[in-house]
């Protein structure tokens, strides 16, 4: 186990280093820069902009800029945002709770509903329910989230008036738990739609695989009730591959949703990434990149460990 962890750690460090180089290069080589937002601001001359670029160090060679960024990062300094001058870690930290709330709710819904649909679809494969679920999953995966989000807002906020048209809380009033919950419904549902489709398809495939195994037949032959066979023997085994899927989902959980967060005016990580990319806010984009890469590596590591715990056949070496 210790050897496994050490190996993984070294592997991860190398990977993070490569990710940082590629990310930094792509980001900086893309045309434009953090100052192009000022190009048409009246009274701000090109001379002013050249001076500001120089003071910010943007006119130095890329390897020099990268080296400086890397050494500062190793010293624990993630840099400051070009947009609001706040430390990058604080900027990212400020968005985590909103994203966790939304993604947590959406993933919770999608795992519960998706697993259920998947299992039912597998047990009664090619039944009407299964076909509806299959078609439904295809539709859910194909609907553009942006469009669907707007439709939900039009239907439930503008016309019916049941749900707020986005935002995390009611603007300008004291936020209560119920207020948070009320605002969470629509974006969580919209986001969960796609996730449910994904989970239900994986679950169905995995479950179908399992219920045709010999040990299920053995269990049935022993005269165990069907309920016990399915939900105890089959489901537990069918869930194993889902652990890997959950590992992949962890970065998503904190990475946020670009489109849903924009439509529902949700101040999470997805929107932060989008805004920062638009402004070429290099330190924040690099921060998010490294953070996501770290989460992806951790997610996979945890998935491997949990899989080993859940399935004695797997050995970590």
């Amino acid at each position: 186990m210790a050897n496994f962890l050490l190996g993984r750690l070294l592997q991860s460090l190398v990977l993070l280093f490569i990710v940082s180089i590629i990310g930094f290069a792509v980001l900086h080589l893309a045309p434009g820069g953090p100052l192009s937002q000022f190009a048409l601001v009246p009274g701000l001359s090109k001379e002013d902009l050249a001076r500001i670029a120089h003071e910010m160090g943007l006119d130095r060679p890329l390897p020099v800029q990268y080296w400086e960024w890397l050494t500062r990062l190793l010293g624990g300094d993630w840099g400051h945002s070009y947009r609001d001058n706040q430390p990058v870690l604080a900027v990212i930290g400020g968005r985590l709770s909103a994203t966790l709330e939304l993604m947590g709710a959406a993933i919770l819904i999608s795992v519960v509903v998706g697993v259920w649909i998947g299992v039912m679809g597998a047990i009664r494969s090619y039944s009407i329910f299964d076909m509806l679920a299959t078609v439904g999953a295809m539709v859910a995966l194909s609907i553009p989230t942006f469009w669907f989000g707007l439709i939900v807002i039009y239907a439930f906020s503008v016309h019916l008036g049941w749900l707020p048209p986005g935002n995390r809380t009611t603007v300008g009033s004291e936020s209560t738990f119920l207020d948070y919950l009320h605002h969470l419904i629509a974006p969580a549902m919209v986001l969960a739609l796609v996730e449910v489709a994904i989970w239900s398809r994986y679950m169905r495939a995995s479950m179908l695989d399992v219920i045709n195994q010999d040990y299920i037949r053995t269990a049935r032959a022993k005269g165990l009730p069907e309920r016990t066979v399915l939900w105890h023997h089959a489901l537990r085994n069918a869930l194993l591959p889902m652990i890997a899927l959950a590992g992949v989902e962890i970065p998503t959980l904190l990475g946020g949703a670009l489109v849903t967060e924009t439509v529902f005016t949700w101040p999470g990580m997805g929107r932060l990434l989008l805004d920062s990319l638009g402004y070429r806010d290099y330190p924040v984009v690099m921060g998010i990149l490294m953070f996501s890469a770290l989460l992806a590596l951790l997610g996979n590591l945890f998935a491997d460990i949990f899989a080993a715990v859940a399935d004695p056949r797997i050995r970590l070496t």
């Binding site: 937002q37 190009a39 048409l40 009246p42 001359s45 090109k46 609001d84 001058n85 638009g278 402004y279």
Partner: protein, 564 residues
């Protein structure tokens, strides 16, 4: 992304011109009255009176997020919406273009002796009632600190022009100071009208003046509203400053809510979550629907941006005046305005907005005439080639047109131009770029052929367009300015210098009038129209006034209030 947003403004904003529209608007916007072409829409006598103490809150919806809270740093207009309410300039410019005292007791002029006859000696008397939000009195030392900070080479000041001419600042007392200019500079009062002052006592101790973390977390100003909190990516809350030295505030809370998508922003206005749509306004495609909303005032208000086709005069084909003139003749301005911009923007021939005191209303009017355009090109020696594209001396009349990618309204206008220009044998191809690319070196270093762009050529309310038209401002040739068309006309240079060097308004007006004639004749850019934005206000929110002299429309939020 600011450019993106700016382009949203430019493409989604409207301006009224035709009488039909004026009537339609008059009916829908009861609180406004048309005060003639110069003044535009103004709020008529209000039935309601402001409350005796600050009451209620207003949620201002913005599709861009204010992020810079040290107002002397480089920033974009959306930030200024916050500055106008949190900070104060020495004086501010009202909707008529005149200066109103804010942190000064009176605005210095030649007449009251605040400015010497040669324009070099300035004497400021400050408002002794003004206080910073933490209770510290505002003083002449603060003014000196701000000027010196802007001049400090270590400080990443946004705008320095004009203020870098100030020297020999002498503080005569707590509310009196004098300074001298290195040379007379007429736009200085305008520049000072959007220079928002920051407190010396909080900033002089900052270890890094470009990142004063304590101040940025809790900015302190002298404005009508005080800082409460900022939730990044979401909103900023300000609360009434009871000790404000000016009129108001009448609202208890002012909230700037960031809603990145314009359609969603409109929806939140529809449902009542947003009380006021600032800066970007309502998109034109929602204009008709918005007018019919119950309990909402939806009005187009003029903005200083001029939509135009900027030529790169470094490109040999555009050096021929006949080509520029022919392309202008073959531009179907009316269809662009009527069909693509929902019939509301107002055509223009000038680089100045109609509300400017230097606007020249007598410029020759462009008329769509493709036959005349063809003849002009024929006469100039541009003969149609085998594929119909004209050629002269081996050069084909073929070029690119660029703007921010993803701006659908502009794309339609580009397609229309492509068609009407194609008819006369000029082949235009569309090459649109992401904002950070479009407005980077491609624009600054004049690497484009032609650009469709909306520009505010003024310096605040001042018509001085030296940055854009002086031959010294061509960055591609090593100059310092924004002259991306590479326009060079010695007469224009002379008129610009004259206009900036005198404080005599009549002399300045004469210079700028003449200059507009020259740019109309030379056509370094083809003027299309002056923008406006469709402003949306919830029924009983009163007190707002459109002001073409500022970049955003929350400039007078201190006098907004809810009518009972």
């Amino acid at each position: 992304m600011s450019e993106d947003r700016k382009n949203e403004i430019r493409s989604h904003t409207l301006l009224t011109t035709t009488r039909r529209h004026l009537l339609a608007l008059g009916a829908s916007a009861g609180a406004l009255a048309w005060a003639g072409p110069k003044a535009g829409w103004i709020a008529s006598a209000k039935a309601a009176t402001p409350p005796s103490k600050p009451t209620g809150q207003a949620v201002i919806g913005l599709s861009q997020e204010p992020t810079v809270f040290l107002p002397l740093l480089a920033h974009i207009e959306v930030d200024e919406g916050v500055y106008f309410n949190l900070f104060s300039p020495l004086w501010r410019v009202d909707e008529k273009g005149s200066f109103q005292p804010d942190l000064v007791a009176e605005v210095p002029t030649l007449k009251n002796g605040g400015i010497s006859a040669d324009g070099l000696q300035w004497h400021l008397k400050l408002n002794d009632k003004a206080k910073w939000h933490d209770g510290t009195p505002f003083s002449a030392d603060d003014v000196k600190f701000n000027i010196e900070l802007i001049q400090n080479p270590k400080f990443l000041a946004g705008r320095r022009s004009g203020i870098d001419l100030i020297q020999d600042i002498k503080v005569l007392g707590p509310s009196e100071l004098t300074f001298t200019l290195k040379k007379p500079y007429a736009p200085l009062p305008s520049i000072l009208s959007w220079t928002f002052l920051v407190p010396k006592h909080l900033l002089e101790k900052a270890s890094d003046i470009n990142k004063p973390e304590a101040f940025l977390a809790q900015p302190v100003g002298t404005g009508a509203f005080k800082w409460v909190e900022r939730v990044p990516g979401d909103h900023i809350t300000l609360s009434a400053n009871d000790a404000y030295h000016g009129t108001g505030p009448y609202l208890e809370k002012l909230i700037f809510k960031y809603v990145p998508d314009l359609t969603v922003l409109y929806t939140q206005f529809q449902t009542g979550d947003v009380d006021y749509i600032g800066i970007q306004g309502i998109t034109p495609d929602h204009y008709e629907e918005a007018k019919s909303l119950a309990d909402r005032h939806v009005t187009p208000v003029p903005q200083p941006f001029i939509e135009n086709i900027a030529f790169n005069l470094g490109n040999p084909i555009f050096q021929d005046p006949a080509v520029r003139e022919a392309l202008y003749l073959a531009m179907d301005k009316q269809s662009i305005i009527e069909q693509i911009y929902y019939g509301l923007p107002s055509p223009t021939e000038s680089f100045l907005p109609k509300q400017s005191w230097a606007f020249n209303p007598d410029l020759p009017k462009q008329a769509f005439d493709q036959e005349k355009a063809k003849k002009l090109l024929d006469d100039a020696g541009w003969k149609p080639g085998a594929d119909g594209v004209r050629e002269k001396d081996g050069k084909r009349l073929e070029f690119l047109n660029s703007t921010t990618a993803g701006n659908h309204v502009r794309e339609q206008a580009q397609q229309l131009l492509q068609q009407t220009w194609g008819d006369i044998g000029a082949k235009m191809s569309i090459k649109n770029l992401p904002p950070a690319v479009m407005w980077g070196d491609y624009w600054n270093l004049s690497q484009f052929d032609t650009t469709m762009v909306g520009i505010d050529f003024m310096v605040g309310p001042d018509p001085d367009a030296t940055q854009y038209f002086a031959s010294t401002g061509i960055v591609a040739k090593g100059g310092a300015g924004n002259n991306t068309t590479q326009y060079a006309n010695p007469d224009v240079d002379k008129l610009l210098a004259e206009g900036a060097a005198t404080v005599d308004v009549e002399k300045r007006r004469a210079a700028y009038m003449k200059m507009q004639e020259l740019t109309r004749k030379d056509l370094p850019f083809l003027p299309i129209f002056q923008y406006a934005m469709v402003q949306g206000v919830k029924g009983k929110l009163e007190g707002f006034t459109p002001n073409v002299n500022v970049q955003e429309n929350c400039w007078n939020a201190s006098t907004w209030f809810w009518a009972n």
